[in-house]
Each structure stands twice: as C-alpha cells, then as structure tokens.
C-alpha cells in the first residue's frame, strides 16, 4: 500500500480561499441589534440572488451592553461552512467605542472594508492599514428620523444602508423588501427611511499605511 499512497502525498503551499464567499462580522454591544442586522442582511442578500446566505450570533450567552458579535456569510453557491467566521471581508462597527476594546482590524482581511458608526470622516476614524474605511453617523440619522427603541436611537438598520453604499453587495431595493417581510408596514417605512439616509451619508475611503 505504501507505494500507491506516495502518489497522493504531495503537499504544495496552502492556497488562499478562491471562491466568491464574503464573510461579514458585526461588532456591537448587547442590545444594539447586531444579530438582527446580520439576519436582515442575509435576507437582503438572498433576495439579491445569492443562493448561499447564513447568519449566526456568537454562540452562547450574551449580556446587554457587553461587546457582542454576529456574522453573515454571502455566497453565489449554497454554504457548506458552519464554523464561526474567523476573518471577515467586511466588518461593521455599531459602536465606535468598541475600537478601543476589541481588535476589529485583527479580524478583517487585508484589503477588506471596515464600516464604522461615527460622526468622523474615514481618515479620522483611527484605522490604519490596508483597508477601505467607511463612516456614517448612524446615531445622528436615527435621532434625526426618530428611529428609537426604549429611549435609545436604533442604529442597526441605518447601518444596512452604509453596508449597501460601501460594498455594493446588496441594493437598497432588496434591503427594503427584507425589512417589509419582517416588520409591519409603518415600521418598515420608517426603518427604510434611515437606511436611505445612511446610504447617502456614508463616506468611503481607501486607507493605507
């Protein structure tokens, strides 16, 4: 048997992933709606025509206010990978104070995109390295359009608009459809208004060095 086995014992260097799958990590705090945003993004992407979409929370108990993550995978083909997302192509930071607490950059691939809820411009967001940085004042948008929950601005849905602008992976039209399938008509309209406003307010810039 040893002889025949030799033929398939050839180990070239490991290749980078070559498929079209996009991996996305949402960084938020418990209660900000990262898990729900990851779900609505998966729905929007499916409506966009991607056959493979998954969304998952970080497994285990979570606490209000503590750092949490959720993930979305989007692919042309049905997804067969259910392990937790390790490195993302796109990261969305719901709360910019997390940048000092969690190693966001360390979870994003080189050349990837980091979308941050902040009033700063991309170059002032404190990200250096080979990334596209997108910033949007999602909190400002939510406050202005009165998208509130339990007295706090709801920032998860506006960030879907920023995602659409920064990546082009999903359209506003399909985000709207996904919202309408999940929410009553009035709530869907109000949420979508913030998505559109955040889309328009998102600034994207390539950062290097």
């Amino acid at each position: 048997m040893g002889k025949t086995l030799m033929a398939f014992f050839y180990f070239p260097a490991h290749k980078e992933r070559t498929d079209t799958m996009k991996e996305i990590i949402w960084f938020g705090r418990g209660g900000q709606g990262a898990v729900v945003a990851a779900q609505i993004l998966a729905e929007s992407a499916y409506l966009e025509g991607f056959k493979g979409v998954t969304s998952a929370p970080t497994f285990g108990p979570e606490r209000r206010g503590a750092p949490v993550t959720a993930s979305t995978r989007i692919s042309e083909e049905p997804i067969r990978m259910f392990s937790q997302v390790e490195m993302a192509d796109i990261a969305i930071v719901l709360d910019n104070t997390l940048l000092g607490v969690v190693d966001v950059k360390g979870r994003v691939r080189k050349g990837g995109t980091i979308i941050i809820n902040t009033a700063c411009k991309p170059e002032d967001a404190g990200i250096n390295g080979d990334f596209n940085v997108a910033t949007v004042d999602a909190t400002g948008v939510a406050l202005k359009l009165r998208l509130m929950k339990e007295g706090a601005p709801l920032i998860n849905t506006p960030l879907l608009g920023a995602f659409a602008k920064a990546t082009g992976i999903v359209s506003l039209e399909n985000i709207e459809k996904a919202l309408r399938s999940k929410l009553p008509a009035a709530a869907a309209s109000q949420n979508f208004e913030t998505v559109r406003a955040a889309y328009e307010g998102t600034v994207v810039q390539k950062v290097q060095g």
């Binding site: 086995l5 490991h14 729905e43 056959k51 998952a56 285990g60 108990p61 049905p78 392990s83």
Partner: protein, 402 residues
Amino acid sequence: MTDARIITGNQAAALAARLCDVQVVAAYPITPQSQLAEMLSLYVESGQLRAEYVRVEGEHSAMTVCIGASTVGARVFTATSSNGLLYMHEQLHWAAGSRLPIVMCCVNRGVGAPWSIFNDQQDSLAQRDTGWIQIYCRDNQEILDTVIQAYRIAETVYVPVMVCFDGFVLSHTMMPVISPTPAAVRKFLPPYKPHTILDAENPMTINSVLLPNRRPDAEGVLCDGYMEMRWKLQNALDRTMEAIREVNRSFAEAFGRDHGGMLWTHRTEDADVILTSMGSLAAEATVAADALREEGIKAGVVGIRVYRPFPVKEAVEAYRGAKAIILFEKSISYGYEGGLCSDLKAAFYGSGIQATIHDYVAGLGGRDVKARELVEAVKSSLARIQAGEKDLKTTWLNCATE
C-alpha cells in the same frame, strides 16, 4: 422564486412538525433546543397547529406523555438536548420496545459534568442502544425534510426516530430553507395508523411482565417471550434500512431534494482519502475536501446520515477504493475510541477494505472546528501513514493533551 425562508435549525424543525400535523407535543425547554419548544408552543397558542401542548416538569415526563399519546393513536413530537435526553433514557427504551412511531429532535449538545451548553454529539451517541433510529442532519433544509421523512419511516416500521442536529451550529444559524406546502406534505405523509390502540371501550394490558419462555395465553395461543419481542425489534431495525431508502427516494421524487438515504458522498468516486463525519461537521468536511483537491490530494467525503441502523452495505460500497479514511467525531466511547470508528471497522471486516483509518475526536463542548483545521489534520494523518505508521491511535483535534 421558491418559497424559501431564512430560518434557524430550530425554526426549521418546528415548522416541519407543524407541516406533519402533529397532534400532541410534550417538550421541556433546554438550551439550545428552547427556541424549538417555544415555536411549537406559539403555533399551538395561535391556532396555527391544532395540537395539544402538554406542559411537563421534565424530560422523563415529556417522553412519557409522548408514549401515552402515541399509544392512544396520536401523532406526537418532542425535542430535547444533552442532559435532558439522558434524563429520558429509560423512556427511550420504553418507546422503542412498545414500537411507537414517535419522532424527536435531539439538538446535539455536550453532556455534563463538566457543564456545557455547547455542541457535540455525546448526548445522542450515548442513546445508541435504545432501539431508536438515529438520523444526523447537515443543514437546516435537511432538518425540515428529515422530520417529514422521519414520520413516514417511523409509521411504516413502527420504530421511533431521533432527528439529530448540531446545537447552535445549526439550531441558531439562519439559512435559506424551502418550505413545502401543507397539502404536499399531507400527500406524502398519510395519517398515522397505530398498530394497537389503547381504548377504554376495549380494555387490555400492554407491556406486562414477560417470562423467559414463550407460553400460551388464556385462549391457548402461543405468545412471544421477552426474547422474541427483542428479536422483533432488532429485525425491524434491519428492515428499516429499506424503508429509509424508499422514503428518501419518494421524498426526492415529490419535493426534488435528495439528502442521501443511509449516507451521502461528496467526490468519492476517485478519492484516495475519504473524510467522514456526521451532521454539520460533515458539510464542513466537503469544503476541506475541495481545498485538499486544489492542492492535488484526491479527497472525498462520506457523510453518515443514519447511524442506527448502521449503513453497512452503503459504507462498504462508498469506501471501497479509499486508501485512507479520516474520521472526525464529536463524541467518544470512553476507554476505547469514537463509536463511528469502531462501527466502520466492524462493517469492513471480511469486505476486503484495507484502508488505514485515523480517528479524530473533535469539537467537544462547542470547540469550533474549521475547514482549514480539517485540511491540516488530514495532511498530518497522511504524512504519518506515509512515514509507515500503521496503528494510528485516536487523536484529539486542537486539544491540549499533556
């Protein structure tokens, strides 16, 4: 576009139970199964499912209620995880011994002590010898479809079915699931016909004490002893394989989705090395096999879908050409090796299959197992085989063992 919803594994299972028009549900919530029990409770409360939801104080009672309801002719459903399943253990034997076609989801979770709420498959593997059919699902579509198939299998052969899927990894991950119409499911799954109905109008005792030998009843008819009844259960499990294959074929015809009957394969035709697992890890292994092929290693995957009855015939066929078989198991038979590894070796006895087998214990208590780790494990196994090692002991993947 087809009617696909983006739902969790728990939601897929609950939806399937509703589509099967279950009449009695008795379930006790436990992480990570809780959402499944909550969905069913919501369906019953909102009138979307015309069933009796019996609240119980624990899993032993949940299964007892299912046994009682099934005995009086109802289609019943329950679900549990981990120590909840262990608490049911005695009643699992009772359900199978009574030949009741109960369907239960086991949302796989590690077993305490030490306490864990996270995924592995020790819970259901520890129920191997209860006489239940066990089917492991690799994604949420398969969960929905398998629950529907499970009722038809169970009600054909009168053996209960455990539909197993990985806690959190599938139970809490959303993905597209196509939901068949209630009419299509009703056509595929005829109403439940009990083999015996316990009825107050026609009183009888079932499952009374059986003496060691066969003996005539009051009318002089020679009746089974305990051993004959046990043989009948074993014989039924053997015959179940044909029912599982047939149900899989008819399901594929009716709904256009074929999940494999007893097992499924991925790129095994010309494979030198075959990766094998059960559940979601087997799906992850297909990604690893594709990556290995890109590196010039002819890899394939066999996903064991039905663990009991064990797919001896299909396994011998599927592994025939392989030179190495690498198993990834989310459970261990303490003091020996992974249960699937022992079963496969036994299946190969006398078949002429001489492949080197390397067993990995992986992902216990929710430790994440990634496709790239499977790729690395396979390469390290192959390197050891190449170096002339023959007797590869079970390896604990990504675990400090010193």
